[in-house]
């Protein structure tokens, strides 16, 4: 189980959008923190996992909500040495 430390509801927010909200939250978060974003953008399905993979955070789960919205839950990982 996990406890979500910060969550943003970005439904209907075309710009800056759900992924940019994750970037924002991730920047302030500590390794081990769990953050979440709710998105109604179909593009998030590929964008958010791709981002998590690239910057080294862990996608814990994607929860289907009503109205085609999804909640993406991310665990922040320690920064990899370059």
């Amino acid at each position: 189980m996990y406890t979500i430390k910060q969550e943003v509801d970005a439904r209907g927010m075309a710009c800056p959008g759900p992924l940019m909200e994750l970037v924002r939250m991730a920047k302030k978060a500590q390794p081990g923190d769990v953050i979440a974003v709710i998105s109604s953008d179909p593009g998030s399905i590929k964008d958010i996992p791709a981002w998590a993979e690239k910057v080294g955070h862990r996608l814990l789960e994607v929860i289907e909500l009503d109205n085609r919205a999804r909640k993406f839950v991310i665990e922040i990982q320690a920064r990899k040495p370059l």
């Binding site: 943003v8 509801d9 970005a10 439904r11 209907g12 927010m13 075309a14 710009c15 800056p16 959008g17 992924l19 940019m20 909200e21 970037v23 924002r24 991730a26 920047k27 953008d41 593009g43 964008d47 791709a50 981002w51 690239k54 910057v55 080294g56 920064r79 370059l82």
Partner: protein, 378 residues
């Protein structure tokens, strides 16, 4: 009945327009409108984009706030230092206590240059009058090399501005015959050049055409001014000139009064624009925590909604106006072309084919701003 005391804090795009709309709608017996603002000058921030990269200055960057306000608005030139929402009063820098019946917070956003190590010393930006002027000097002295554009933190106002700057910079270097000796690198913290996919695809075509290099997932976390390097989660980049959008925060008074989140954004209902859990307080423009573009057009549409809701409140009517998430931004693509992003909570943007028309429209709007927006003509 005594007239309601309406206090608006912040005389930027949103606050100025709202003050004028309210005194137009409400009779003096119904309400007295006070605008409390720190700056005696009203600035047109979109004009800063052009300061650094245009040879001539056509855009008028500021006008005295008082000239933009209808005479029925009482202008208080002071800074709000503490919001006391329980007692419905605001304390100002000069020690004055300003009581109100209704409050609107429109204090915009501010730059937090110390949030990223090395940012202040190592990079330029065009997000303030001084920053834009310094960048203008740096570019005039530039003789070639690598210019890196990047995002120092989220959120930042006018999310299209870094792309616009990049295209206008390309034009500028070509005009000065410096483009061949220069490399432009546009970086962005996610996997494409703009959050909205359709817009990113369009802009990427223009970036490719102009041979502008891109680096993605580039979430800047430090700048080393000595070694001229910018670091991110995914790697480092060397630069000769760095143009980095500084991290933004809400007003200090919001943080000091503990009425917002830790970054100073005020929890706001996305439809009614009322401050969450607080009656008779509304928030507009950059100051809200709504995860939508921080833009002048956002503040503009929101001011109209709050004017209607306050009018309904004063007249004891059911408020009907809701903010639908409407935002409208031009996107300059260089070589005299632009497009338009127009969207709301329900409808993502689908930008029209870039053309001279939108570029000219943006340029005209830059001049017409003073006539159109603060007085509430549109």
């Amino acid at each position: 009945m005594k007239p309601y005391r309406i206090l608006i804090v912040g005389g930027g795009v949103g606050g100025t327009l709202l003050a004028n709309l309210l005194v137009r709608r409400l009779r003096p017996e119904e309400a007295q409108v006070t605008l409390l603002s720190r700056d005696g000058e009203h600035v047109y921030q979109p004009g800063w984009l052009y300061v650094a990269v245009e040879d001539e200055e056509e855009t008028e960057l500021s006008r005295p706030e008082k000239e933009l306000l209808r005479q029925e608005v009482f202008f208080l030139h002071d800074e709000a230092e503490r919001f006391d929402l329980d007692r419905r009063q605001v304390w100002t820098h000069s020690g004055e206590r300003v009581p109100y019946d209704m409050l609107v917070i429109a204090t915009g956003s501010r730059l937090d240059l110390d949030r990223i190590p090395g940012l202040r010393e190592g990079a330029h930006h065009f997000y303030s009058a001084v920053g834009a002027r310094n960048l203008q000097h740096a570019l005039r002295a530039f003789r070639g090399g690598r210019i890196v554009i990047g995002i120092g933190g989220m959120p930042f106002k006018c999310p299209v501005a870094p792309l616009e700057f990049t295209f206008l910079l390309d034009d500028y270097l070509r005009r000065r015959n410096l483009r061949q000796q220069s490399e432009i690198v546009y970086t962005f913290p996610i996997g494409r050049c703009f959050p909205i996919e359709s817009v990113a695809e369009l802009a990427q075509r223009y970036l490719d055409e102009r041979a502008i290099r891109t680096e993605f997932f580039f979430d800047i976390d430090g700048i080393d001014p000595e070694r001229r390097r910018i670091s991110s989660l995914v790697g480092e980049l060397e630069y000769d000139l760095a143009v980095i959008i500084p991290p933004h925060r809400g007003a200090e008074a919001i943080i000091a009064s503990q009425i917002g989140d830790e970054e100073g954004w005020i929890p706001t209902d996305r439809y009614t624009l009322q401050m969450e859990g607080v009656e008779q307080v509304w928030v507009i423009g950059d100051a809200t925590n709504i995860p939508i573009s921080k833009a002048g057009s956002t503040a503009h549409y929101q001011a109209h909604v709050v004017a209607e809701r306050i009018t309904a409140f004063v007249r004891d009517q059911e408020p009907e106006a809701h903010y639908d998430g409407h935002v409208q931004c031009f996107l300059e693509l260089g070589e005299g072309k632009a497009t338009l992003l127009d969207f709301n909570y329900e409808m993502p943007p689908s930008p029209p084919r870039p053309s001279r028309f939108y570029h000219i429209a943006k340029k005209l709007f830059n001049r017409a701003y003073w006539y159109l927006i603060p007085p509430g003509r549109i």
